[in-house]
Symmetry: C2
Subunit: 143 residues, 2 copies
């Protein structure tokens, strides 16, 4: 197989991946937040604590817009901002108790759909899948 067909497979894979993860995450978001806000919370949940600049880079937004969205999340008491003691320009963001609870609910829905999908898989398929994820993670997606 040459690199062009590898790319082609990657594109097909990408499409399937989006379709399936979309299936998993459909309606898992609480109604009180927007799609972007959910994405930000998801990122914070996985990577906390993060700085506004981190969110900014990762979400590919401009700082003013990041700041505004974080402010909205803060006003909804879903996140907490803590100023750095050493560099008082910086701040660290974490999920609040409510924010954590909300994301736990979302993750629980997603997890149950994921587990439902793999529930009848034989052990060796699960091992293959785990190994495949590990390979892509370390070889293609590492920094």
């Amino acid at each position: 197989m040459d690199n062009n067909s590898l790319f082609h497979n990657f594109v097909v894979f990408t499409t399937s991946f989006h379709r399936v993860t979309h299936e998993f995450t459909k309606d898992a978001k609480a109604d009180v937040i927007s799609q972007i806000q959910y994405k930000i919370l998801e990122y914070i949940a996985v990577s906390q604590p993060v700085t506004p600049s981190d969110v900014n880079d990762c979400m590919n937004m401009s700082m003013p817009n990041t700041s505004r969205e974080l402010k909205k999340l803060s006003e909804k008491s879903l996140i907490e901002k803590i100023h750095d003691k050493d560099d008082r320009r910086k701040q660290y963001i974490r999920l609040s108790k409510e924010g954590q609870a909300m994301m736990n609910e979302s993750f629980a829905i997603i997890e149950s759909r994921f587990l439902e999908r793999i529930q009848d898989f034989p052990k060796e398929d699960l091992d293959d899948i785990e190994h495949a994820i590990h390979i892509l993670q370390t070889k293609l997606f590492n920094e």
Copy 2:
């Protein structure tokens, strides 16, 4: 490894996947279309011909909004609508020549970035990656 840690790895994988594919697709979109319009064209490109209802389901939009976006794309001559002969309520959507050309350009940018990323990988890593994609595609993402 139990299924819960498999799910956890899957979530981490999902995050990395989004980060990297975003890196690939960044600025690959032509300026004359919006982000959503690009997503719709991408979907049509991979799955054509599609119906407005297909787009609707896949993009998770409401029919009125789907209809409007498709109309915009049609006005920009990027897609073509063909009415079904048997059921004249239905219509099939394809990329027009211009639409196809535009998407080819985008895909070329994405492909070059993909190839750049894997260019120095040893052959056995590429084989591993290909195999991993194949495994996930057939075992986890099949219909």
